[in-house]
């Protein structure tokens, strides 16, 4: 291969920039440590969205022996927008199954809350995606986190350089926060899983639609700061029909027929990445999150149900994120 001076210079500058970025991200900037010696993950089989999800979820939650008696639970699904025929949101039947399960586990109250990042009319998304009717039948309250009462909150990590964020009271006061992402690839962050899903607690009423400041401060950095500040206690990830390609809105459905449960968001996201055929250690917020928010190594994750089985071909991603594909994995079939 012949290298000219221009290519060499560009490559050197790229390497230098990459190295400095990595060095910056690798400096510990967290004021809290939530990583446990071991994490637990359960990959459950679920063939479709149906009323049977309650039974599946209940059996999965029993593996974790959660004690939620008297606690307030916030379920944080991923509601982006409603596009007919698209799998962009956490499915309402899964969220409602979770409401019922946590009530059975003795929770004092179970709220569902979300603050969509692009669509200002949260009620429109709830109505058209079927959430409103399902929640009404369960008498489950929904809180629009974009318009909730806000409390200025010091950040417990400073990867963005920001010192504080205004955050919704509902998210800050919940005893037990459950991140319920839709498993998707994402054109800005590589993937959107339980940690990226927490962008939804950042209120539009303060930061706008979209929450553009998080992009300018760095998406990976913002994910780390938000997850350090609003702890995720549990994850229920909707991978029954996931999304690949140009997510989070314009990708293609990719059935995985799985629900991923975990008591650690980093372990959950690492596991989801693996079943997407992506290397979690190449996803910055997962890799850096493993220093203080949870575990990424399979040696520290107890699989309570199915084992991790990579897909026949990895999830399609936009070209900028093809480096996430697990080295040596099967080539993508177009």
């Amino acid at each position: 291969m012949k290298l000219d001076r221009r290519t060499l210079l560009t490559a050197s500058l790229g390497l230098a920039a990459g190295a400095s970025t990595t060095a910056l991200l690798n400096r510990p900037k967290y004021h809290v440590t939530r990583r446990q010696p071991r994490s637990r993950v359960a990959i459950l089989r679920a063939e479709s969205y149906s009323r049977h999800l309650g039974t599946i979820l209940r059996s999965g939650l029993e593996l974790f022996h959660l004690d939620l008696r008297g606690k307030s639970v916030l379920l944080k699904p991923n509601l982006v927008d409603y596009i007919p025929g698209s799998h962009i949101n956490t499915h309402p039947l899964l969220v409602c199954a979770a409401v019922e399960c946590f009530r059975r586990l003795g929770a004092k109250n179970v709220l569902v809350g979300e603050g969509p990042g692009h669509q200002r009319d949260t009620e429109l998304v709830l109505l058209e995606s079927g959430f409103r009717e399902e929640l009404r039948q369960l008498k489950a309250p929904f809180v629009d986190l974009n318009r909730d009462e806000l409390i200025v909150t010091p950040l417990r990590a400073t990867y963005t350089g920001m010192k504080q964020l205004w955050l919704p009271r509902t998210a800050l006061e919940a005893d037990f926060v459950v991140s319920m992402p839709k498993v998707k690839t994402h054109h800005w962050s590589g993937v959107t899983l339980s940690m990226k899903n927490m962008f939804g607690v950042v209120p539009g009423a303060k930061y706008g639609w979209p929450k553009n400041i998080l992009h300018w401060k760095g998406i990976q950095e913002s994910i780390l700061d938000v997850c350090a500040t609003v702890p995720v206690h549990f994850v229920i990830a909707d991978a029954i029909v996931a999304m690949e390609g140009n997510g989070p809105l314009s990708g293609h459905p990719r059935p995985l027929n799985r629900i991923v449960l975990a008591d650690d968001p980093v372990a959950a996201d690492a596991t989801c990445a693996r079943i997407m055929g992506l290397d979690p250690t190449r996803i910055t917020h997962i890799r850096v999150g493993a220093e203080f928010l949870g575990n990424v190594s399979t040696e520290r994750i107890d699989q309570l149900a199915d084992v991790v089985s990579p897909p026949a071909s990895p999830f399609d991603v936009v070209p900028e994120f093809q480096y996430l594909w697990v080295t040596g994995s099967a080539q993508r079939v177009s």
């Binding site: 009319d121 009462e149 979209p210 809105l249 936009v318």
Partner: protein, 292 residues
């Protein structure tokens, strides 16, 4: 009116006491002129909440950098004939506030390396927050305010910013017509417009010379309205279609029915619903005389 807090403002949620600028400004526009005490209290809240630099924060207690709701606050005040140093400072802030993409380092970033979102950084509007790029809602609110202000006083910088803002809206339009937050095409894929944002953008484009952007967007909004039952979006849709002389009687009936059968807890939504229903009596807060 029952939800107005003692300080004169309204919160978003009826369950909290954190007064915010958007529900208060919308409520001020929705209050009938006979509600003198409530209007005065709301005006007083907005006056007290204004930042020293002329902008408004999104809610009381926030920092003083300014927000994309400054245009809405100014519009509500000038619609109530409030004028003076306060409104002049707000106009000056709007003239100086601009999307980050208009500053040359970022302009070149978007021209050269960051081209996945299709937009022209020369056509800029207003951001939600300082040091971020322009988005549709703050731009539409700001254009509304400056056009209305221009009706009071001519200023070249105001004209310049209105033109740039209008160009920005046309630049960010979705391929099928209408607007979402401000990303029409990302990674080569068209993104869908949203009814509320489309309606607000159209309101700010009232009296612009007729063109395909407006016609296509009105057509999209009319079609979208056929299946829209959410009060916030439906109310904004009615206001925009009515402003452009399109029929809205059926939509108004539907809105009445929807809000009769649902508990609307959000004060900003209640205010826009009131504005839309009041329009049935021929009173549209956004059909105001302003120049282009």
């Amino acid at each position: 009116m029952k939800r107005q807090l003692p300080g004169g403002g309204w919160p978003f949620s009826g369950d909290t006491a954190q007064t915010a600028v958007e529900p208060t400004a919308l409520a001020l526009l929705a209050l009938p002129s006979s509600s003198v005490r409530e209007r005065d209290a709301a005006i007083g809240f907005l006056i007290r909440t204004q930042n020293p630099n002329g902008s408004w924060p999104p809610f009381r207690g926030d920092d003083e950098g300014g927000s994309g709701l400054t245009g809405l606050a100014l519009y509500a005040l000038t619609c109530c004939c409030v004028e003076g140093t306060m409104t002049s400072r707000a106009v000056q802030w709007l003239i100086e506030s601009r999307g980050w993409e208009s500053h040359w380092p970022w302009k070149w970033k978007f021209r050269i390396s960051d081209r996945h979102v299709r937009f022209n950084p020369d056509k800029f509007g207003w951001p939600w927050m300082v040091e971020t790029v322009s988005w549709v809602v703050p731009t539409a609110y700001s254009i509304l305010a400056l056009k209305h202000f221009r009706g009071i006083s001519q200023q070249d910088p105001v004209q310049f910013r209105i033109r740039r803002g209008v160009e920005m809206l046309y630049d960010r339009i979705c391929p099928e017509g209408g607007w979402n937050a401000g990303n029409g095409i990302v990674y080569g894929f068209s993104l869908a417009p949203h009814p509320d944002t489309t309606a607000l953008a159209l309101l700010s484009l009232l009296n612009e010379p007729p063109n395909d952007f407006i016609t296509t967007s009105l057509g999209w909004l009319e079609r979208r309205a056929e299946t829209c039952f959410a009060p916030w979006s439906l109310a904004w849709t009615i206001l925009a279609l009515d402003t452009f002389g399109r029929p809205t009687a059926l939509l108004t009936d539907r809105l009445s029915s929807v809000v009769d059968n649902a508990e609307v807890n959000d004060c900003a939504t209640l205010a826009v619903v009131s504005l839309a229903l009041r329009r049935a009596t021929g009173d549209n807060a956004f059909r105001v005389p302003h120049e282009t």
